[in-house]
């Protein structure tokens, strides 16, 4: 039954309405001619609704005319009729097909190339290298040899440690991981100068001339280890011969004590009566010391080691409103030195000791008094 239903749908069928007296005769003649009718429904003695194959409809209508029965189609169902309707909408169908075709055609190309993972390398360079290896907007997806592109990227960009190519839809994605390169070796002449005002507690010189001793007080910008060669030495002569400043790269370690000072001021809120309670003073004191400590801790470098701390909290009741001032002084043992390069200039003969990064600590190298 299901097969028959399907078949009727494939062939197309018509729901007919027959109006007249000789309905039995109409059915008999139609069937005798080979037609199949189904779901006959005789609503009234003079009205019949039935279904028949589309191919038989015209013949039945003709028979009906002969018998005085008016046969009309109520509804046409099935694949051929649906197709017929579509055929009438040919333009629509054509545009649809064109659209699908266009979409399919366009989807076979790579339209975008994306780069992931670049840090120092410009993404455009990766895109350009990928393009030269066959991955660029406008190429057929099937033409992109992923291994080839990866090899090309490695060939052209030695700074890439790893690369992968992925194509998803119209988007080609290049993933790269850059080689982590070591920092350029420290070289070039220069001195080690004080980065902080402080008190030298330790000095180790591995290259250059130590200028300070344990116990010396140094000021920010003051040279600690000089890279200047001693005049008259072989190294000095060789440098002068090639026209370079007689300066080498000072190396060493100077550590000592640096003092940090943090201050904070907190107003004491008076209570309802306008008086200042002891609790309020204590709370403001705590607040002020915390703020002072925070300010100090922020200034201390990560390698610093706090040795001593001295906190002073003073209430100033005369001020209005009354305030609490906290002053924290911390002494920190830390690295004091900082390398300060010397720009190579031919005429410089040792006087070119200059703190470039500071700019203001310009001046002659001053040896501490012995």
């Amino acid at each position: 039954m299901l097969v028959r239903t399907l078949w009727s749908h494939l062939q197309g069928y018509v729901i007919i309405r027959a109006k007249g007296r000789r309905l039995e005769a109409l059915i008999n003649e139609a069937v005798a001619a080979g037609a199949r009718l189904w779901r006959l429904d005789r609503a009234t003695p003079r009205l019949l609704v039935a279904r028949t194959d589309a191919a038989n409809f015209r013949r039945i209508a003709r028979t009906g005319r002969r018998l005085g029965v008016r046969v009309s189609a109520l509804e046409k169902r099935g694949v051929p009729f649906v197709l017929g309707r579509w055929r009438r909408r040919r333009a629509f169908l054509l545009v649809g097909a064109l659209f699908v075709g266009l979409f399919y055609g366009l989807s076979r190309f790579v339209w975008f190339v994306d780069v992931h993972g670049v840090e120092r390398l410009p993404a455009e360079e990766v895109v350009a290298a990928a393009a030269r290896s066959g991955l660029r907007p406008g190429v057929l997806r099937s033409d992109v040899e992923r291994e080839e592109v990866v090899l090309g990227l490695h060939r052209e960009l030695p700074r890439i440690a790893w690369a992968a190519v992925e194509i998803k839809g119209a988007l080609g994605t290049v993933r790269v991981v850059e080689r982590t390169e070591p920092d350029p070796p420290l070289q070039g002449p220069g001195h080690i100068v004080a980065a902080y005002d402080g008190f030298v507690e330790r000095i180790v010189v591995s290259q250059g001339q130590g200028l300070v001793r344990v116990g010396d007080t140094v000021q920010r910008g003051q040279p600690l280890i000089s890279g200047m060669l001693v005049p008259g030495s072989d190294a000095f002569a060789r440098k002068v011969e090639v026209g370079e400043p007689p300066v080498l790269r000072a190396e060493g370690f100077v550590a000592g004590r640096v003092w940090y000072r943090g201050e904070a001021e907190v107003a004491i809120p008076p209570d309802e009566a306008g008086a200042v309670s002891a609790e309020a003073v204590a709370a403001a004191g705590r607040q002020a010391s915390e703020a002072a400590e925070a300010a100090v801790l922020e200034a201390i470098p990560p390698d610093g080691e706090i040795k001593e701390r001295d906190l002073a909290v003073v209430e100033d009741m005369e001020a209005s409103p009354p305030v609490v001032r906290a002053t924290l002084i911390v002494s920190v043992y830390q690295n004091l030195g900082r390398f300060s390069p010397v720009a190579p200039s031919p005429e410089a003969d040792g006087s070119g000791l200059k703190d470039e990064s500071d700019g203001q600590e310009d001046g002659q190298l001053q040896r501490p008094e012995p």
Partner: protein, 92 residues
């Protein structure tokens, strides 16, 4: 003549164990429960009403009575009647 030939055909059918309705064009009426009647080798409709459907066959008239009768399908050799069938009668 006709009888003679019919009897020969009848004997042939029996001998070869062929179904009589096929060899002899006899109507075969099948009643499925009280809701469906199949009439094979029918000779057309005589009348069609919701309470009575009369079918012509070579052997006479088959009258199907009931309520809400409908012809489920009709083809040159087969007729299916659906509905609440109360009586199937062969009128010779």
């Amino acid at each position: 003549m006709k009888r003679e030939r019919g009897s020969v055909a009848q004997r042939m059918a029996k001998l070869l164990e062929l179904p009589a309705e096929i060899v002899l064009d006899l109507p075969k009426t099948t009643l499925v429960g009280g809701m469906q009647v199949f009439v094979e080798n029918h000779g057309g409709l005589l009348s069609y009403a919701p309470d009575e459907i009369r079918v012509r066959t070579v052997q006479g008239e088959i009258v199907i009575s009931g309520r809400g009768l409908k012809i489920g399908s009709i083809m040159p050799r087969e007729l299916v009647v659906d509905g609440r069938i109360s009586q199937v009668e062969l009128k010779r």
